[in-house]
Structure formats: structure tokens, C-alpha cells
């Protein structure tokens, strides 16, 4: 739809202003380059690795949510044949570290803080021996009072998880811009409500896994199922008290992460055991422990107060969030702050205030999950707007059109919205779903009622404060003497298809056929430093670095072509692997030319180097400052049917329209959207980690009900992509991973309300809650 002219270097590469750009590689449906090896089972993941002499690691986990470790006796366990090492808190350093708050130790020697907390770790020559040894470790626990609900944990009398953390508050976030009290006082419409989002599990196919192997030069190689190879290297060096250079991290294929696969205890334990035994150690969670001690979504209780003018103009937003950190800090504080204020750049707010508490409880440590707090707040905000529209007879589409941000807008927190097709997303979703016609349809006579609901979303494509030292990326593109290009990046494809996007970007920028381009697996000995997969930044920031590297490669290639073939650079065009000289009829292939060039240069490959450092800033003490180079937007419309006798809600159809800046690969975009919608639908309609007295009751796929293929909409998920051409993204591209999920629970909740008049304010929307709502109506 929109074709906004490119700025900077892209302009040189592409046709001029306003014209529809022609791409050889972009905008098509390109199957992921590693698709075949994945579907045929040839792709190797960390758990598939077999290293000579490899030991099997297992972790003894606490059966109590809070207990003092009085004695950990490993004498019987040590006698099991095949057992090579057993570590406990007493045997390892007690220095503290952690991704955000130094509340991690390798293994505790004082107390355990959640049901599933690590008590000891074993390395043995077989899984059986390791399991037997685990069962023989005798632990004397002194059970302590525990607290599970974040709000109760803040109470004076609540037991403390960490003596020094008053009221169990790990961190507090506060922001206030404008004058919220005054704006609320002057608002004709004031709405107040509390919403709750539950704890859900990422359910990636490959559980958390590591193989750590001592290598040459006293270094340690770790094959990790991770989304942050370079960052985890820094953190693990800190945990192991070694120099980061002595750690080599390799990220092979990864079977999904969705936010969970950041720093992880089991990785560190594998490393410790490997260093102590001098042997490679494999540590792979079984599914139950992955449920019990993974990094599930941060549950939140969100109180929100909105002030609006009679015409629907948003005047003020006041929120207070209590978020569950679990028993130690992974990334929940950053997730809470995101929930507090990211959505403020979706609408043209003038007065906002938000307080967020991240609170320790004796439950599973929580962390990133697609949406990073913004998804939680979208449920609250977009549900609230829907209710306001219903109560005050406002149009839920128009209110979003009216208040939504527009291109060129700088939000109240200083976020610079450069590209934005939010309005167009709404228009397209309304048109494709027949919104207004459906709204007019009379209610069904049968007990099964239909309903339709809307929600919009924003997100970031990169998040400057996430890693304090910088945001940005660098890449290398190497053109070999055989004419193949290899992209080296530190950004971690964990199944999203980023490696394919990088290959497409490089192919497009140089003029190669994507068949001859691939992206290398991340290996910190070879790949550039890359922050990794989070904040929907891969294609935008990582991709832009790849783009810069490809441009640099192309420049070198042109110079060498000019030299070797005795032409002027202006006479040369490279397209789809062919080189055209304007004074010659027939092109030559890049493969042939590069071989010729390479052989004049001692057989070298040409290596393009690219760096992208976005002009973003760390927010100041008032949380002001542009954090992301680009902001993606979207609009979702859900159509559901609700059975008023059984209370079950089912998806009928779903329309997801996203402003992705530029379509790099249509197939993986659709994959992300369909996956995001179904992941959000699972969360909205039933997924729930049921915890009783700190113990997870459903740590398996039978009782934790993920949606199956049969639970997808009876009709379809329709996805549409609008191209607003962001000036910072490669060819204008912005991210899709998280925005594809953000609006889903609210769109579904709003549709359920439309169908049966029941407003479910605490996820998930279960049949019981719907029936209860119907009964009390």
C-alpha cells in the first residue's frame, strides 16, 4: 500500500521516490533455507549432539517452595557406578550474579526458594546412573513459610525470600509525564478497572539444553539452545569467574525459544561440571523440569484508569502493576517496565503515570515471553477501551483511529515514530473482516452466539535499554571464490527464519541469487558479537547490519570488477547473480567473476563488513528518550463463537494486519503471524500454569492445554502486510515476532464480549468464567 521513499543508502540502491520498488528477492514466499533439513530430521539441535566421552548431567530440584538446606548428603549417591561428579552449594563458589539483579548463585548453600529450584547437580556416564544418583542424594530440608501471590508477598507479614528485599519487592518502576491527576479531573469519561494476566509457558519444541566441553587452550566450548549467544557468553564468564574469551558459544539449530532461552541455570551447571570433570557434559531438561523451572511469562495484576473527553479523545492514563518475579530475577523487571509504558507510544497520550512492582514469590522465576510485558498491557488497555466504547457508545474503530500515533509523531516518552501505517491497518482489517456489517448482524437464535472484537498494537524493533552498553549489530558477508555468499551474524535464528531473511537481504543488496547465499550458524569464535533474539530486533537491526555488510561487499566487488575487467564502475550492474557490462551483450556470472578476482588476490574471499548503530538513546531518569529505531504496528480482528450452554469460546476467523515496513519474506511473515495468533489464542482461551502451594500441577502437554491444529479458527487466519518503509530498517523492514501476539488476547476477549456480553478480565477466558458471567448477567 504505502511506499514511502527510502532515506540514506537505500535510495541509491533503489528506484526513486514514491515509485513501487522492484525487488528480485524480497516480498516473495521463500521457504526457509534450512527447511528441508528440519523437516527431514537432519537438522541437529543441542540434544542431538554426541561428543566423545560425554557425561550426562542431571539436576536435583527442590520439592518444597521455600526451605532451608540443613544438610545435603551425597555420600550414597557418589557410590553409584558411573557417577563422575556431584556438586552442591557447599562445593561451588557462592558469588552472586544475574542478568538484571545479582540474586543468582551457581547452587545455593542456604535455602531453596521455589519448587524446582536447583539443589545439586550430577554428572555420570549414563542418564540412568545420573538418575539413580539423584534419587540417592539425601537432603534435609527445613520447610519455611512461603508466599505465592505477588500482592500477598508485598504485605508486611509475608515471609521474605531475600532478607535484604523489603516487602519482597525486587524492583520498582515509576514514570509520570504531564499531570495525570489534573487530566483525570478534567475528563468527561473516567474509567477504572483491574485486569489479570496469568502465567503461561512458551512450549518451544526443544527443551532447554546445553553441552559444555573443555577444549584446547583451557577454553570451554558450549553448544547452547539459546537466543542470546553473545550475551550469555558474557554472563556465563561472570558466573564461572573466567574471561569471556575463554568461552566459545556455538548455537546450532534451535527449536524455538519465544523469550525463554536467555541465561539459564542448567547451562551454567553443565559448564561447572565440565570444568570439574574435564569431560563434556550434556544437560537437557526433560519436559517436566522445563515446565517446573523454565522461564514462563510474568503474571501481572494491572489496575488501569483512563480519562477521555466525551468525543473519545484519550486524555490520561494511570496504571499500577504488580508483577510476579518468581523466586529469582531473570528479566521480569524490564518486562514490568515495558508493561508500564510501552503502550504509551501507541496512542497520542499527553498525561501518563505508571508504577510497576516486580515482586518475589516462591514460584518459578519468570521472564521474557513474546510480547515482553507489552502483551500483558495490551490485554488491559485494549479491553478497557472496548468497555469504554460499549459504555459510552463510541466506535471502537474510530476511537483507535482518532488516538493512534501517526508518522512523524514523537510520543510522550520521546519515541520517534518514523514509519507508521496504523490507521491503514485498521482500515484494512475493517474492510477485510466486514466489521461494520458483522456488527449489525442480529444475535443468533441458537445457544451458540457469534461475536467480533478488535485490538491494535505497537511494539519496538530493538530496545536500547535492554543491554546497557549498546544496541546495534554488525555482520560480515563473505563471497567465496566459488561464488557463494555466507552471512556471518551474531543474531540468533531460533526458528523464526531470520537466517533466511538475512540471506534475502544480502542477496538483494549485492544482486545475488538467494540460492547461493546462506547464513552461518552462530559461533562466537567466528561470528560477530550479536545481542540476540529479543525486542523484535533481528530483521530490523541485525538485518540492517547485514544490509550494510552487503553494500560494503558490493562496493568491493564493483571495484575489483572494474580493475580486473577494465571497466568503469558505472558501467557495471549486478543482478540475480549476473554481471552486466553496459558495453557487452552477454552477462557473466558472479561465480565466474569472483573466481577470477579471487585468483588475482591469493585466493581470498571478499568480505563485506557492516555495522548498524541506531540513533537511539538510553532513556533519561524521566524515562524520556527514543529507544528503538523502528516501531511496528498492527490491527487484529477476531471473530468467535461462544456456546452459551457449555461456555466454550472458539475462533471462527481472524484478521491480522501488520505494518511490517517492508516484506522481506512473505512466507515467514505469515508463519510468524499465524504462530503469534495461535500462541495468543492459546493464552487467551485456556493455557494456564496451575500452581497450588507453589507446586505446578500440570507440568506436561496433556494437562497443559496448548491449542492443537484442530483448535485453529474454523475459518481462517487472514494475514495482510502493509509496507510503510521505515527509514532505519533494511529496505524499510520492521519486526513482526512480538506484535503478532500482542493484541490477540484482547481481540478475543472483546469478541467474546460482543458475542455474549461477558467481560472476562482475568486470563484465560475459560468456559467456567463465561458461564459464571452469563449466570450473573
Amino acid at each position: 500500500m504505502l511506499f514511502i521513499p527510502m532515506l540514506g543508502k537505500e535510495k541509491a540502491l533503489n528506484k526513486g521516490k514514491g515509485e513501487k520498488m522492484k525487488f528480485s528477492n524480497l516480498g516473495k514466499e521463500t521457504p526457509i533455507l534450512d527447511g528441508l533439513e528440519k523437516v527431514t530430521g537432519r537438522a541437529r539441535y543441542v540434544p542431538d549432539l554426541k561428543v566423545e566421552g560425554m557425561l550426562h548431567g542431571r539436576i536435583l530440584r527442590s520439592p518444597y517452595p521455600h526451605a532451608r538446606l540443613k544438610k545435603v548428603d551425597i555420600s550414597k549417591a557418589e557410590r553409584i557406578s558411573g557417577v563422575r561428579d556431584i556438586i552442591t552449594g557447599k562445593k561451588v563458589s557462592q558469588h552472586k550474579f544475574g542478568p538484571m539483579v545479582p540474586d543468582w548463585v551457581i547452587l545455593p548453600d542456604d535455602k531453596v526458594r521455589f519448587h524446582g529450584d536447583e539443589v545439586a547437580a550430577v554428572a555420570a556416564t549414563s542418564e540412568e546412573s545420573a538418575a539413580e544418583a539423584l534419587s540417592l542424594i539425601e537432603v534435609e530440608y527445613e520447610v519455611l513459610p512461603a508466599v505465592f501471590d505477588p500482592e500477598l508477598a508485598m504485605a508486611e507479614e509475608a515471609p521474605l525470600l531475600y532478607e535484604e528485599k523489603e516487602n519482597n519487592i525486587a524492583t520498582t518502576f515509576y514514570v509520570h509525564k504531564g499531570d495525570v491527576d489534573k487530566a483525570l479531573a478534567g475528563s468527561e469519561i473516567v474509567f477504572e478497572e483491574t485486569y489479570q494476566t496469568n502465567q503461561v509457558y512458551q512450549a518451544y519444541m526443544e527443551t532447554m539444553a546445553a553441552v559444555a566441553a573443555p577444549g584446547d587452550y583451557e577454553r570451554l566450548t558450549m553448544w547452547l539452545s539459546t537466543q542470546i549467544p553473545s550475551m550469555s557468553r558474557l554472563r556465563y564468564a561472570e558466573a564461572l569467574e573466567i574471561c569471556a574469551e575463554d568461552l566459545r558459544i556455538i548455537k546450532p539449530h534451535v527449536g524455538g525459544g519465544f523469550g525463554a532461552k536467555f541465561e539459564y541455570k542448567a547451562h551454567i551447571l553443565a559448564a561447572v561440571l565440565a570444568r570439574r570433570t574435564g569431560s563434556p557434559v550434556r544437560m537437557v531438561n526433560n519436559r517436566e523440569e522445563d515446565f517446573r523451572a523454565g522461564n514462563p511469562r510474568v503474571p501481572m495484576k494491572i489496575w488501569i484508569k483512563l480519562g477521555l473527553a466525551k468525543d473519545g479523545t484519550l486524555l490520561a492514563k494511570d496504571t499500577r502493576i504488580i508483577a510476579g518475579n518468581g523466586a529469582r530475577t531473570v528479566y521480569a523487571p524490564a518486562i514490568t517496565s515495558t508493561a508500564c509504558y510501552r503502550i504509551d507510544s501507541l496512542y497520542k497520550f499527553k498525561n501518563v503515570r505508571s508504577t510497576g512492582y516486580t515482586v518475589y514469590t516462591n514460584t518459578i522465576p519468570t521472564s521474557c515471553f513474546r510480547g515482553f510485558g507489552n502483551a500483558q498491557m495490551h490485554f488491559a488497555m485494549e479491553s478497557a477501551l472496548d468497555t469504554i466504547c460499549h459504555q459510552y457508545n463510541l466506535d471502537p474503530i474510530k476511537i483507535r483511529q482518532q488516538n493512534g500515533v501517526t508518522p512523524g509523531f514523537t510520543s510522550i516518552h520521546g519515541w520517534e515514530i518514523k514509519s507508521c501505517a496504523l490507521k491503514e491497518c485498521l482500515d484494512k482489517a475493517v474492510e477485510e473482516s466486514n466489521w461494520y456489517d458483522k456488527k449489525k448482524e442480529p444475535a443468533e437464535k441458537s445457544p451458540v452466539k457469534k461475536g467480533i472484537g478488535v485490538a491494535i498494537c505497537n511494539h519496538v524493533s530493538g530496545n536500547r535499554p535492554f543491554f546497557k552498553p549498546f544496541d546495534g549489530s554488525s555482520a560480515l558477508v563473505r563471497l567465496t571464490p566459488e561464488g557463494k555468499a555466507i552471512v556471518f551474524t551474531g543474531e540468533a535464528d531460533i526458528g523464526q527464519g531470520m537466517n533466511t531473511a538475512f540471506a534475502l537481504i544480502a542477496a538483494e543488496a549485492v544482486g545475488l541469487d538467494v540460492k547461493n547465499v546462506r547464513t552461518a550458524a552462530v559461533d562466537t569464535d567466528i561470528s560477530p558479537f550479536g545481542l540476540g533474539s529479543f525486542a523484535t530486533r533481528g530483521t530490523t537491526i541485525g538485518g540492517r547490519a547485514v544490509y550494510e555488510a552487503a553494500v560494503n561487499l558490493k562496493k568491493q566487488l564493483l571495484e575489483h570488477l572494474a580493475r580486473v575487467y577494465e571497466k568503469k564502475i558505472e558501467q557495471i550492474t549486478i543482478n540475480e547473480g549476473q554481471i552486466y557490462f553496459d558495453d557487452q551483450e552477454d552477462p557473466i556470472t558472479v561465480a565466474k567473476a569472483i573466481q577470477t578476482i579471487s585468483y588475482t588476490l591469493g585466493g581470498t574471499s571478499l568480505v563485506g563488513h557492516g555495522v548498524f548503530v541506531p540513533e537511539t538513546v538510553l532513556p533519561d531518569e524521566n524515562k524520556y528518550g527514543n529507544v528503538s529505531p523502528a516501531y511496528p504496528f498492527g490491527c487484529h480482528i477476531a471473530e468467535v463463537e461462544v456456546d452459551t450452554e457449555t461456555g466454550r469460546a472458539r475462533l471462527l476467523n481472524y484478521w491480522a494486519v501488520h505494518d511490517v515496513g517492508r516484506v522481506i519474506n512473505k512466507q515467514t511473515l505469515e508463519g510468524q503471524v499465524e504462530g503469534g495468533v495461535m500462541m495468543g489464542a492459546g493464552w487467551a482461551l485456556g493455557e494456564d500454569m496451575v500452581v497450588k502451594e507453589g507446586k505446578l500441577l500440570n507440568p506436561n502437554f496433556h494437562d497443559y492445554c496448548l491449542p492443537t491444529a484442530m483448535d485453529t479458527p474454523r475459518g481462517r487466519i487472514y494475514s495482510y502486510f502493509l509496507e510503510s518503509g521505515d527509514p532505519n530498517g533494511p529496505f524499510g523492514a520492521k519486526g513482526i515476532g512480538e506484535p503478532s501476539l500482542n493484541p490477540v488476547p484482547a481481540a478475543i476477549a472483546n469478541a467474546v464480549f460482543d458475542a455474549v456480553g461477558v467481560r472476562v478480565k482475568n486470563l484465560p477466558i475459560t468456559p467456567e468464567k463465561i458461564l459464571e458471567g452469563l449466570a450473573s448477567a
Binding site: E645, R648, V690, N698, H702, M710, D711, P767, L771
Partner: protein, 297 residues
């Protein structure tokens, strides 16, 4: 693995010989979809497994002049695809279709489902509604009894798979006016154990809606697959109209005594069983999703 031998007999006789020879230290395995899952958490204490998947007679679905026979190692997929059962065993076809997912249905068997004796085992509920009989072979010979009599408690069957082999299930060929159907509710559309399930068999007077006879089997409403006999009694001999159907729904909700469980509270299950009975009776009246001898489907 705890067993030393894995046998694959080709006849029921061989299977029984093995059971007798191993003196209780062998165990029948069919699809293994229950047995292997249980073995993981609670290892089997046997010396041998006897896989009955190679015994041709146990995999047959057939009829004689009076009854329909379903071999014990007939899989759920076989049931779903059986032309004979689609016509004359609708409740069973619909029940088998809801078991697990395709992979489970391709290996899981009706015999295993019944011997595993879960209170809401889908095909066990259907067979109970059909008033099926179970045919058993042991060292002492052959005998049969009503399927419902084999259920002793959750996961407890009177059939001892280290001594006895179930060979088949049988039920009377449906006559004129007989219809059956199956319904269940679950947390998702596939691969989910039921919150509630229900097998319904009924026989209508010719040309009107008076119920000559009815059987309602439900789960998980008790420790075993449960026949709602009070509600059946209420419906027997009456004209099935809207009011009666509503009453039946309320009656069964009062009659059953489910427990709070992971899949739903007792109250929720009581309410839901009423809803699915009502809907099943309605669809039986409309002739939808219901088989009868004279109707082709």
C-alpha cells in the same frame, strides 16, 4: 526396561500358553499407549510382554446374524473407518474418533481402552451404552460377561492381563428404531481427555417419539464408566419432547457424582453432563449423528 522377552504370538492359543507358562510374570500389550506411559512412572514388574498385534482374529470387525463382533486389538482408527460400524455402531465410531490424536488412534486399541478401565475411557463408554459383552480367554477356557461388569475402580479392571486375554466385544445388531450417538466436552478440540463424555443408545417406538428403551453411559462421573439408570428410568416409555429433554438434563445432573479434578470442578461437570445429554437426545430425535438399522449413512 524390566522385561527379558517380547513375544509376538500368531494365535490366541499361543498367547494363552505363554500367559500360563509365565505364571503371572507376563503381560499383554496391545498398542501400548497406556501401558508404556504407565511403565515410565511406575515400572512394570514382568518378565515378558506378549504383543497381541500379530493375531489376525483379534483385529477383525464382523457380524453374524445376531451380533456385531469387534476384535480386542482393533484400533480406534479401524473403528472410525469401518463401514459396518458407521452403519451399525455409530456411538462407537463417534467415540473412537475423539480418542487422542491420529497417532494414538492408529495404535491404541479398544481392548486396551476397556482393560485400562478409566472412568471416562471413550470407547468403554460407548460399549457400555451398547450394552456390549466382553469375550475373554484364559487358561481355564473361554467366557463372556457384560463389559460394564469388568470395571472395578479407576484403572482397575476385573480382567487380569497377566492371566487373561480379551478376544472381542460384541453387541446386538441394532433393530428398527434403535439409535445411538456419542458426545463429549474437552479443553481443546483434539488430544484431550474429556471433561465429560456420554454414550447414548435408545430405541424409539415406530413412527413416534416414545422411548421404548434407553441406555445412557457417562464419564467421568463415578469411579467407573457409569450408567445413569435413574435418568434412564425417567425416560423409559415417555414421549420425548422438549420438556422431557430439559427434565432429563436436570435429572442426570442430579444423578451423577463427579469429583473435582484437574479437568473441571464437580459442579461444572454436573452442569455439562446435563447439557450434552440434552443435546444428544435432541440430535437423536432429529436423527442427526445417530445410527439406526434402517437408515443409511
Amino acid at each position: 526396561m524390566t522385561w527379558e522377552n517380547y513375544y509376538m504370538p500368531l494365535t490366541t492359543g499361543e498367547a494363552i500358553e505363554l500367559l500360563v507358562e509365565k505364571q503371572g510374570k507376563a503381560r499383554i500389550i496391545a498398542g501400548g499407549t497406556d501401558l508404556m506411559v504407565q511403565h515410565r512412572s511406575d515400572p512394570l514388574n514382568v518378565r515378558a510382554l506378549i504383543d497381541i498385534g500379530r493375531i489376525p482374529g483379534l483385529k477383525e470387525i464382523r457380524e453374524d446374524s445376531r451380533r456385531i463382533y469387534i476384535g480386542a486389538s482393533v484400533t480406534h482408527s479401524q473403528i472410525v473407518n469401518s463401514a459396518l460400524l458407521k452403519k451399525k455402531g455409530r456411538v462407537l465410531v463417534e467415540a473412537a474418533r475423539t480418542v487422542g490424536a491420529p497417532q494414538i488412534r492408529n495404535v491404541g486399541t479398544v481392548g486396551g481402552n476397556v482393560v485400562n478401565a478409566q472412568p471416562a475411557a471413550d470407547t468403554a463408554i460407548a460399549l457400555t451404552a451398547l450394552d456390549a459383552r466382553i469375550h475373554i480367554l484364559s487358561g481355564d477356557g473361554e467366557f463372556e460377561k457384560p463389559v460394564i461388569d469388568t470395571f472395578l475402580g479407576p484403572g482397575k479392571s476385573c480382567i487380569d492381563p497377566s492371566k487373561e486375554l480379551v478376544t472381542a466385544f460384541s453387541y446386538s445388531i441394532p433393530g428398527p428404531g434403535e439409535r445411538s450417538c456419542f458426545a463429549r466436552l474437552a479443553r481443546r478440540e483434539s488430544l484431550a481427555l474429556p471433561i465429560v463424555n456420554l454414550g447414548l443408545w435408545l430405541c424409539l417406538e415406530e413412527d413416534d417419539h416414545i422411548l421404548k428403551d434407553i441406555r445412557i453411559a457417562v464419564g467421568p462421573m463415578s469411579t467407573v464408566p457409569f450408567r445413569a439408570r435413574e435418568t434412564e428410568a425417567l425416560l423409559k416409555g415417555v414421549l420425548l419432547d422438549k420438556a422431557v429433554i430439559e427434565k432429563a438434563g436436570r435429572s442426570i445432573s442430579d444423578e451423577v457424582t463427579p469429583r473435582d479434578s484437574f479437568r473441571g470442578s464437580a459442579d461444572f461437570k454436573k452442569q455439562m453432563i446435563g447439557v450434552i445429554l440434552k443435546r444428544s437426545l435432541e440430535s437423536a430425535l432429529e436423527g442427526k449423528g445417530v445410527d439406526s438399522d434402517e437408515r443409511e449413512q
